[in-house]
């Protein structure tokens, strides 16, 4: 699933490890979610949204949204 994690992280000058520490997951997990190789569960998606003080929809993008943007 496409997402804006990398951009959001860059805006805050966080490394993958910084975000991983905040989420209490491994750096490899952050990388897998960020690159779309792994879709997080709903609870983890909510935790990610809470950390960025955004809604899930503002971070994770539906396929149609990505296609429309292209």
């Amino acid at each position: 699933m496409n997402n804006r994690l990398r951009v959001l992280r860059a805006e805050r000058r966080w490394s993958q490890q910084d975000l991983a520490d905040r989420l209490d997951v491994s750096r490899q997990s952050v990388n897998a979610i960020e690159t779309g190789k792994y879709d997080p569960s709903l609870p983890l998606a909510f935790r990610i949204a809470d950390i960025f003080q955004m809604t899930i929809e503002e971070i994770f993008l539906r396929e149609e949204e990505v296609k429309a943007a292209e």
């Binding site: 993958q16 997951v25 491994s26 490899q28 897998a32 792994y38």
Partner: protein
Amino acid sequence: MMTQAAIAKPKPGLWAGLFLANMAIIAALFITGAIEPPAPYLLFALNFALLLPLGKALLRRQVEAGAVTTAVRRYNRRFLTASLLYSAAMLGAGAATNYIAPHSPLMWALAILPILPAFGMIWAMMRYLAEETDEYQRHRAINAAMVGLALVLALGTGWGFLETFGLVPHVWAWWVFPAWAVGLGVSMAWSELRSGGAA
């Protein structure tokens, strides 16, 4: 500096390859009758010493890939302890087998000795899945376990039929564990390769 880093790079694949090659050589020698019990058990058990550098290299590789969680560290410690106890039990039981009367209670005890730490390894894996709070790591572990299961089912069913028709020699059932572990290891290495080393 670069050269030092290159030399220090952990090589779990090398240790795993060496471990498996030794297992295959010992099995081949045993099947062809070149060595007779208890020599194969003792050699199998001694080969388990390679799990120490393998475990160490694996942990360092996991640290580099940013894949280490508290549950992983706990699992590594438990699994390594169980496998070393397994090796010691095999070594002890293998050495004593020639001095004990067949079908005696002591022979039963000797046979059960390596089973207990082997169950310990299975327990360590079950605990890992229960204790891992990182859902992606748990997902990877479950996927790898399924690949191991697929390998065991394919080899077991395939070999079983070949054996039924008298085409291949008999293989002891305890080989399911190493076969499963090979599938697990290959799947973990494959997913590591695909992730291309987390940035």
